[in-house]
């Protein structure tokens, strides 16, 4: 019976299966083989001997990491960057969207939107090059802070206390506009009749925002917030690699940059893979928890 069904399935959809073979092969080679490759986290991996012939060391790499001085610094920095980003970077595009939404003149609105999206289209390499210039000793950001806040006139990127603000503020600069698109769309999806009804009930503009606008965009905000919380331990390496330097590892080195340096710069393959695996397990758990919470508090869920 099953055999017959399989036969029928293949005779009917054979051509379709042929088309998906390249896709399946791609996923096996470029995603599933590396997933199997995490086994090297439990080995003393030597490239010459390959993954099957290297010596097994059990949890040794993890133990080394947990006992190292680095782990707390990495977790602290990762959390500090993502929490600062969550507190300041997350609300910024929401607020911008609410304010753009209040602009009456259609052309001015379009102008503000187009300008604010622009930095999103600057590549990371260039963005970081610009940031480095602007916060250098003679940069205008540094000069501004010297004039107004009386800080010392040196590059901000050699002072460990300034790394997180530079990272987060430049991120807000680059993404505030583009990030507001999704909220603007949610805002335009709110039924105008709700505003009229609220006005008839005596609600002023502010009350309307409070009782109609905010509940209207709440589902979008919640989904985005959950995604952000799920990614809290997943601070990316690209921007940090471009911005940091040895003098400020104390505050700028995060798990992903550490994985990069240990794995590809110093060649500690197994140790780096172990740290990476530790990080992805935490990321995965966080996404699951975030989704569970959202399913509880509202009907909004990531799936």
């Amino acid at each position: 019976m099953l055999k017959k069904r399989i036969k029928k399935d293949f005779s009917r959809y054979g051509g379709l299966y042929l088309l998906v073979i390249p896709v399946v092969v791609y996923y096996i080679i470029f995603h599933y083989i590396p997933m199997g490759g995490v086994l090297m986290a439990f080995e003393d991996f030597v490239p010459r001997r390959g993954i099957f012939k290297s010596d097994w060391v059990g949890l040794q790499n993890f133990i080394t990491f947990f006992k190292s001085y680095d782990i707390w610094r990495l977790i602290r920095n990762t959390l500090r960057i993502s929490l600062t980003n969550l507190i300041f970077g997350f609300p910024a595009p929401v607020i911008l969207a609410l304010l753009i939404n209040e602009i009456n003149n259609k052309y001015f609105k379009k102008f503000v939107q187009t300008c604010s999206y622009l930095p999103h289209f600057i590549s990371m390499v260039i963005l970081c090059a610009m940031v480095k210039e602007f916060v250098s000793t003679n940069g205008f950001v540094t000069q501004f802070l010297v004039d107004w806040f009386n800080i010392e006139k040196v590059s901000l990127l050699i002072n460990k206390d300034y790394y997180v603000p530079v990272h987060v503020i430049s991120g807000i600069w680059a993404e505030i506009g583009f990030g507001s698109i999704i909220y603007l769309a949610a805002l335009s999806g709110i039924d105008m009749a709700l505003y009229d009804a609220a006005a008839i009930d005596g609600a002023g503009r502010f009350k309307q925002v409070l009782h109609v606008t905010l509940p209207g965009i709440a589902p979008t905000v919640i989904i985005k917030l959950l995604l952000a919380i799920g990614g809290i331990m997943g601070v990316g390496h690209e921007k940090i690699i471009l911005l940091y330097n040895e003098a400020i590892y104390e505050t700028s080195d995060v798990i992903s940059t550490y994985v990069y340096r240990k794995g590809l710069v110093s060649g500690e393959y197994s140790f780096s893979t172990a740290v990476g695996l530790f990080n992805s397990v935490i990321n995965f758990a966080l996404i699951m928890v975030a989704n569970k919470i959202s399913a509880k508090v509202s009907e909004v869920s990531l799936w």
Partner: protein
């Protein structure tokens, strides 16, 4: 009907307009600064500190001449064009194949393939295993190392699948009855009817390739193969061993600014015309598959 505005509302609108102008100013000023600096007189610029309201005369355009003649930047640009064109074409082909399969009702193994794809959204091998794979496949120092690992973006696949699903099944069925193959259905019916979505995906994949530098930095050794962004990174990092000839130039500082202008200009210049596609992409990505 004209409603009289309350004083509070007027105050808010004034504040809001000013705030919006401030937003425009802080987004545009850094770019203006870079452009103006790139042709300023080099010695006065070197002594300058803080905001730059206009370029120092006499204007010095030498940096641009050097940039357009710089071998690493020229080869970088050519490499990036190859990767953007070739990579995006392969991205679209593979994403279409996957999306087409997922959009069809019926095949028994559809669920298996779906799970296989979705798992990769949440879990991956990580940096070192992926690096070892590329090495073992013999792709080191080839452009394939940059193009192949990211052939399909799952979100893009879901976007395209949703778009394919909006096409009536009856079209596929009647084409099958007329003897068309699935490949023909995909190329002759599905893709032409999803042009708008394809346009969005082309933009996203192409922009991704244009901006990419990290995988090139770990997989490529040969400078002649460097894409533009990596070439720029190497040139801008003055401690880099590649930068010798560049720092020695009297336009070094101007060239920094000039490179920023030249490499950003293509995208910044075309983006406003494509803005609606980018906006569309953001919204499509947020729709659950």
């Amino acid at each position: 009907m004209k409603i009289k505005k309350s004083p509070a509302r007027i105050a808010f609108e004034v504040f809001n307009t000013l705030f919006m102008l401030f937003i425009v100013l802080i987004t545009v000023y850094p770019m203006y600064h870079v452009v103006v600096a790139s042709f300023s007189e080099p010695y006065q610029l070197a002594a300058h500190s803080g905001f730059l309201l206009k370029a120092y005369a006499p204007y010095e355009w030498g940096a641009y001449r050097d940039i357009f003649n710089h071998p690493l930047l020229i080869s970088g640009f050519m490499n990036t064009v190859i990767i953007v064109v070739g990579g995006t074409a392969l991205n679209i082909l593979f994403t279409s194949l996957g999306a087409f399969f997922m959009s069809q009702k019926g095949p028994m193994l559809k669920g298996v393939v779906a799970v296989m794809i979705i798992i990769t959204m949440y879990f991956g091998g990580g940096l070192v295993p992926s690096y070892m794979l590329v090495k073992n496949l013999g792709l080191m120092d080839t452009r394939w190392a940059i193009i192949l690992p990211g052939l399909i973006g799952v979100t893009n696949l879901i976007i395209l699948k949703t778009s394919f699903q909006a096409i009536p099944d009856s079209l596929t069925e009647s084409a099958l009855l007329d003897g068309a193959s699935y490949l023909q259905i995909m190329f002759r019916i599905m893709l032409p009817l999803s042009k708008a979505t394809i346009a969005v995906l082309v933009l996203y994949y192409a922009l991704g390739h244009w901006n990419a530098w990290f995988s090139a930095s770990i997989y490529l050794r040969d400078r002649g193969k460097f894409p533009l962004q990596l070439a720029v990174k190497q040139l801008l990092e003055s401690d880099s061993k590649f930068a010798g000839d560049f720092v020695a130039s009297k336009h070094a500082q101007l060239m920094k600014y000039g490179i920023i202008v030249v490499t950003s200009a293509p995208v910044i210049a075309i983006y406003p015309f494509l803005q609606k596609y980018f906006t569309k992409g953001v919204l499509m990505g947020s729709v659950k598959g």
